[in-house]
Symmetry: C2
Subunit: 213 residues, 2 copies
Amino acid sequence: MGVPQLSRRVLQRLMRYYRFLVEVTAKRPVRTITSGEIAEALEIDATQVRKDLGAIGLIGLGRVGFDVCEICRAIRTTLGFDQRHEAVLIGAGHLGLALLNYPGFATFGLDIVAAFDVDRRKLGRTIGSCRIRSVDTLGSFIRQRRVPLAMITTPAEVAQQVTDLCVANGIKAIWNFSPTQLTVPKRVLVYHEHISLGLSVLAYHMNGRVSPA
Amino acid sequence: MGVPQLSRRVLQRLMRYYRFLVEVTAKRPVRTITSGEIAEALEIDATQVRKDLGAIGLIGLGRVGFDVCEICRAIRTTLGFDQRHEAVLIGAGHLGLALLNYPGFATFGLDIVAAFDVDRRKLGRTIGSCRIRSVDTLGSFIRQRRVPLAMITTPAEVAQQVTDLCVANGIKAIWNFSPTQLTVPKRVLVYHEHISLGLSVLAYHMNGRVSPA
């Protein structure tokens, strides 16, 4: 395919470029942008920006820079947002329901096709376009439908058990929203969503120490 | 005070070191750790780790490395987790309720003292230790109690309006969970919580391109 292997860091920076360009173009019509402009807005070194865009085959033209649409298209293709990815969500508590109701996932090709919970009172309810099912049927659902991604929003105590069940049934990736570390085989990717990064910046600021931009 | 001004990047890395050390010590008793061990676990350059720890006054001892408790204490003090910070939450939807029920904030000194919503049916309910109040009283609450932080979990359409109200009443920082950009004066810090960074890594992996560790 000629597609390079990109590190997690590069992928996340590409996502930040993408988000920035979508926001900029939503405000005013912009056709081209330089690596320096992206770099300044995101506080990243301009050389790094050029290197990252180069890694996905984009080369800027001197002072004119890059075509915005071209960057966006290349990033979407590289990250795989133009593909449809099915996901299951496990744990239909407040956070689970917030994610089920989040309208933004479709833009990135993510489609939550089922939600699972242990609470019998929740079963059968429909949230978004998703029916809440018994966790007893989770394994067979993943296996039969070959669902690649599980979003885990259970309490920490049961997250590993749910993960093991997903892994045993062939899941490829876990998006972990529960506040605990998960152990998985090497072939499975875990992305742990942490709330604490933001808190570090906010608490520091509230202490009156500095105003990070 | 002799406290250095740290950039957002440094603060976030310090938070990652802290989280990593708390996780490690929860699993097994560890008294000392080297910058190389931290660097390897988090995929950061070891020189960078030493530089960050040096910036908060920590110097490792050759092969012995750093005292784990000392690192944790220094990071907590630097980031301000040993101080109590009051916050209000605006928007008692699913995400708002998930945050109100999250038990982990206390560890970082964060105390959500009130939640606000426009929906009259929600008013007066108590979530966690927090009563849901009418958004009509938000401004005076922030001003009188001098609350420094607002967590915004409203729909995107009203987030700017709520932000303006908070800013007019002296808020210092905004933790933005709504999917929209906010405009604030320079003295106010906005931290925008994005869900899309994780998605970039996950979608790339599901496309079968690579398995970022």
